[in-house]
Symmetry: C2
Subunit: 169 residues, 2 copies
DNA sequence: CCATTACGTCAGTTCTATTGACATATCCCA
DNA sequence: TGGGATATGTCAATAGAACTGACGTAATGG
């Protein structure tokens, strides 16, 4: 039986059609990200949450008092998408809102104690995988990995992002 | 206005609650993967395909003649999930099936010329981002990145994987 | 005063994936 | 040879996460 085990796909075969397709890295990113989020997914399911809830929880935890608009910018989703997720987090008391002081239209977002606990639990899970992986690498690997991942991201322009995406958000 | 630009989240703040949560890497993986698959998503949409089609196309292209069961194992999805996607790829002639010689129950999968062309186009897109990112890193970075990503993956046991997942697939 | 902004929400749709139940053809062993 | 296991395909229902489009409300600020 041609069993197609994953080993078959680990060999870094790179065909040379001009662009040097980085096929091994393309696959690796898929596998690594799938298993990485899988850790959190299982834990989230126990609370009736999904991946989207995790993201909101994570970024609100990292940026206490951030606005809904800030969250939309960061996640790059529509407010309708965010709405369902955020509403559930509010109803289940994992996130709390406070009226903005300077601008009372704003709803400043904070994680509750329950939210902080969950987010920490998820961070421990995912960090365990990351740290385990880094332990198996050469000493300086972390810096290279961070550099690479940062370079993979389309960072928003320091200015003007809000202006560009003002509509449809 | 507290605008919450992404810059706010790039600083590698690491709180020290026992486990050393790798918060910066957790976020970085999210941003990097999102932008990485975004390149392909836009191209795929033009052909009426989604991310799932890309994965099938990619792995069939890398493993000509692989079986449906092999694909299910690799992607770790159910056959019902695969069915819709694979059916569309077959109907639109991006993938072809051939009866297995040794085992006539098997449907061996191959990409057609159209499939190979699309998969190559997608690989060029994604490789461009990867190579651009690597160009901005230190010379030896690629090896470290590959090591790290490989260590992040739950590779199936060399043997017995099929036995474990025989059901529900 | 009024346009703009921040937020919320209703309705409908798409895509991916799930569980569960069956159907068919083939393989292979007792 | 007969029957259980395997490989594949399919119907139906559901869930999660995203989308577009259209409104409504309240607060800001020129």
């Amino acid at each position: 039986m041609s069993d197609c085990r994953a080993d078959d796909h680990r060999a870094g075969v790179v065909d040379a059609q001009g662009q040097r397709p980085a096929l091994d890295l393309i696959e690796l990113l898929f596998f690594a990200y799938r298993d990485f989020v899988g850790d959190a997914d299982r834990r989230l399911a126990a609370d009736g949450f999904g991946r989207a809830h995790h993201r909101v929880l994570h970024f609100v935890s990292r940026n206490p008092g951030m606005t809904v608009a800030g969250l939309l910018d960061l996640l790059r989703i529509t407010k309708q998408s965010l709405n369902r997720v955020l509403k559930e987090l509010l109803e289940k008391d994992y996130v709390a809102q406070r009226e903005g002081e300077a601008d009372r239209r704003q709803r400043l977002l904070y994680v509750t104690d329950a939210g902080a606990a969950l987010v920490h639990e998820l961070a421990v899970l995912q960090s365990a995988r990351i740290n385990r992986a880094l332990d198996g690498c050469a000493p300086g690997a972390r810096i290279h990995v961070v550099d690479f991942l940062e370079a993979m991201v389309d960072w928003p322009a320091p200015e003007g992002r809000r202006a560009v995406t003002r509509e449809k958000r």
